[in-house]
């Protein structure tokens, strides 16, 4: 089912169960390994959970930053594909990303970026199955500026804390 998709996120709906991390790592690492998961849920304050993953910016600053052409864009799904053979672990893609989304794999030390599971993401499956719908698959639309979603998770959490806790939310993170 290869087609252009996007993973929409509804942060307030995230329960913080982190099953997305388990499902992702089981698919790509063969076992439960949250820190190697392409989606990571940050919780800078209890109750304020932010699933953090690649948003596929239109201009792909990460791809542009790579000095060895290890990153490319899947022409069908629009996902960023990492060629781990080529990756030299220079961290330039991490710095280029407006949301600091990519990270280096805890074992291989190569860049890790969500590849959208070739159009059928595991993280979305478990989230939707549990009824949270914090992550859902949507068809790519021209009116969505995806880059707006690429933001440091602690910054997102600060907004979310105000949304949940009002004035108090300004001081908890």
């Amino acid at each position: 089912m290869s087609k252009p998709i996007w993973i929409a996120r509804d942060y307030a709906a995230c329960s913080g169960c982190k099953r997305c991390e388990l499902a992702c790592s089981m698919k790509f690492e063969g076992w439960m390994w949250p820190e190697a998961s392409r989606v990571r849920v940050f919780m800078p304050f209890p109750g304020v959970e932010v699933p953090h993953l690649c948003t596929q910016c239109k201009d792909y600053p990460c791809v542009a930053s790579c000095p060895v052409d290890a990153l490319s864009v899947d022409p069908v799904t629009t996902a960023v594909i990492v060629d781990t053979e080529k990756c030299i672990s220079c961290s330039k893609c991490i710095k280029a990303c407006p949301g600091t989304v990519p990270f280096l794999h805890p074992a291989s030390n190569k860049a890790v970026i969500c590849n959208l599971c070739n159009g059928d993401p595991e993280c979305v499956k478990v989230c939707v199955e549990a009824g949270y719908n914090a992550l859902t698959v949507v068809a790519e639309g021209p009116n969505v500026n995806k880059k707006l979603f690429s933001r440091h998770p602690v910054e997102v959490a600060k907004d979310l804390a105000v949304f949940f806790f009002g004035e108090k939310g300004e001081e908890v993170i």
């Binding site: 940050f42 109750g47 961290s91 990519p102 280096l104 009824g131 806790f165 993170i173």
Partner: protein, 622 residues
């Protein structure tokens, strides 16, 4: 190494400021599993010989924060805290849901064993690089909220500094204490995630006695390898399907029980258990949900039961107070038990107690006890410096702080309900029995918010009286057989009860087998492993000391209040049947192979592989 274990434990001596790794052999792990079971074993091995002389709040005591082989891999990750309980003088396995549990596993550790006492406040940091002791002077005195904020920032910054190139570091998992634990309030909790607590046993004060403010963990490794990974993956999916079918728990948690349990089962503490019935619809779930629940599905690591809901008060005098639902226990203990029937006041009291790190059940039990003594004129305004009035959240707020800071009568109340009763009797020159009438505890452990008098709740006659964890409502005694595969198992495998009940038992035990490779069945837990753990807990509880030693049979009983007839409600006049308690106690003992005084027999100890306890028990039998 059997599956599910990271393979090593961090062994910390705070006096000598030394950290090292410790391991246990496969046989020990198979016999005691993890969590509560392994805690009892470690404590027996290291302190057993001098048990009765070890003061729970002395450097000699050991604080344990252990996972089990199923933690994080099975849904509902929790940490189990233990040590010699400064409350019961035995061993309690006290658990709390937290990412600390998954993080420490991913850092390559199954738990932390802490001995000694630091010369100034410290916290322990556990990462893939091992354990470190770090200064915590700047954290001492801080409430829960501030502790979380400071540690999240500090630890994340430190780890980023060490490895800046890898990308963003996620915040660590942590367990910590509040001012109550720091000031050695005997029944204080080990806290985590703002409003989650390992409350029973008083392990917050054990941490405090070691000058240990917190333990943080951040790991980048995998969850431990298991014996049959493909089976585990399948069982993981199946278990979650069952959990996701639990609509009631997922939708409302226990957040609607504050009214229901009180009104329908008459087993909710009202004003220090003077009543167990009320018909105040303000305590109804919708009044909490509609006005205060800002997140209706909140879960801990690898959980889809999501029985938690986040509450926040956004206006009025308690503006900015954040807690969970509150759950039933705190609706009762931080609400009805203090005569509070207003949801905002109840949320405020829960948030306050959590922030102070003063176990939400046990602390307010003592507060209710104090308020009743004031009601009866035994304690006066002079003792408190104010009037603790039922239903008045302002004065109850003052009372909570008074205890947490050990000021005025708070210094006595900080000893927990049982010890406070004894001390106040002495102060007021009264017969202790006169005050123990109002002390609702079993073996020093204040009783959870489920009474036995109506017999309409899940807690019956010997639920607390026979339990090795006293008043702990999460680990009640049933018949010495079925309860051996209940929380004795979940507290040792270390995962949440609410990810257990409702899932077919064969599935859970298949899961346990697939993770560890041990030949585990429900039957083996009911007949051997569960009884082994509970018998060892019983041995240590019987040894007790140094300040209190429970008397066999006499102290295996409910508090006097549980034999008073219920004064109101649909079960008016009903009370706990003492004859039935006595009879069932004997059956319970017999099933577990204990003698008629509840002392494990020589044969039982031998059968369970606990023969090294025989000489200590022989003395008790004489």
């Amino acid at each position: 190494m059997p599956g599910g274990y990271a393979g090593k434990f961090l062994d910390v001596d705070l006096t000598k400021r030394r950290v090292k790794d410790t391991t246990f052999d496969d046989e020990t792990l198979e016999m005691f599993f993890g969590g509560r079971g392994l805690a009892a074993k470690i404590l027996w091995d290291r302190l057993g010989k001098k048990w009765s002389d070890v003061d729970g709040l002395s450097p000699e005591n050991i604080f344990l924060a252990l996972t089990g082989p199923m933690t994080a891999i099975y849904p509902g990750a929790r940490i189990m805290c233990s040590g010699k309980s400064p409350v019961s003088n035995g061993v309690v396995g006290s658990t709390a849901a937290t990412e600390f549990a998954s993080e420490i596993k991913m850092a390559g550790y199954d738990g932390v064993i802490v001995t000694g006492k630091a010369d100034e406040p410290v916290y322990i940091q556990v990462t893939d690089e091992g354990g470190e002791i770090r200064p915590a002077k700047h954290l001492w005195g801080k409430v829960g909220e501030e502790t979380i904020k400071t540690l999240n920032r500090e630890v994340t910054a430190e780890l980023t500094k060490r490895k800046p190139a890898i990308g963003l570091w996620k915040e660590p998992g942590m367990i910590y204490i509040g001012p109550a634990g720091e000031n050695l309030v005997r029944n204080a909790a080990v806290m985590t995630k703002l409003c989650h607590a390992a409350g029973y046993g008083g392990y917050g004060s054990v941490m405090g006695s070691k000058n240990l403010k917190a333990i943080v963990a951040k790991g980048r490794g995998t969850l431990p390898k298991v014996s049959a990974p493909e089976a585990v993956k399948l069982l993981w999916k199946k278990t979650h399907e069952h959990l996701q079918g639990q609509t009631r728990m997922r939708r409302w948690g226990t957040g609607y029980a504050g009214y229901t349990v009180g009104a329908e089962t008459s087993s909710e503490p009202v004003k220090n258990w003077q009543e167990e019935w009320h018909d105040d619809k303000n305590m109804g779930g919708p009044r909490f949900e509609n006005k205060f629940w800002v997140k209706k599905k909140w879960a801990d690591f690898n959980c889809t039961t999501n029985c938690m809901k986040v509450s926040c008060i956004k206006n009025g005098k308690w503006k900015g107070d954040i807690t969970d639902l509150p759950d039933y226990e705190l609706q009762a203990y931080c609400g009805t038990n203090l005569g509070i029937f207003d949801p905002a006041d109840n949320i405020h009291m829960s948030a306050l107690i959590d922030n102070l790190g003063h176990s939400g059940i046990n602390g307010p039990n003592t507060m209710g006890f104090a308020a009743e003594l004031y009601q009866r004129g035994i304690l006066t305004e002079k003792d408190f410096g104010f009037k603790p009035v039922w239903g008045d959240a302002e004065s109850m707020t003052k009372l909570a702080w008074l205890i947490a800071k050990r000021e005025k009568i708070g210094d006595v109340l900080a000893e927990g309900t049982y010890r406070a009763a004894i001390k106040i009797a002495k102060m007021k020159k009264m017969d202790p029995e006169e005050l123990l009438k109002y002390a609702v505890h079993v073996k020093g452990i204040e009783i959870g918010a489920h009474g036995t008098r109506s017999d309409a709740d899940y807690t019956h006659d010997i639920a607390y009286a026979a339990s090795v964890q006293g008043g702990d409502h999460t680990s009640t005694a049933v018949d010495g057989y079925t309860d051996m595969s209940g929380s004795v198992f979940t507290d040792s495998a270390v995962f949440c009860n609410f990810c257990y009940y409702g899932v077919p038992q064969e599935l859970v035990f298949d899961y346990a087998k697939a993770i560890t490779g041990f030949p585990i069945t429900q039957e083996s837990w009911r007949r051997v492993t569960g009884p082994r753990i509970v018998t060892l807990q019983k041995v240590l509880l019987l040894l007790g000391g140094p300040d209190v030693t429970w008397e066999p049979i006499k102290d295996d009983d409910n508090p006097p209040r549980f034999y008073e007839p219920l004064p109101s409600g649909p079960f008016k006049g009903k009370t706990t049947d003492k004859a039935k308690v006595d009879e069932k106690l004997q059956t319970y003992f017999a099933t577990l192979g204990w003698d008629n005084k509840g002392i494990p027999t020589k044969e039982t100890l031998k059968k369970l592989g606990l023969s090294d306890c025989e000489s200590a028990m022989k003395k008790l039998r004489a």
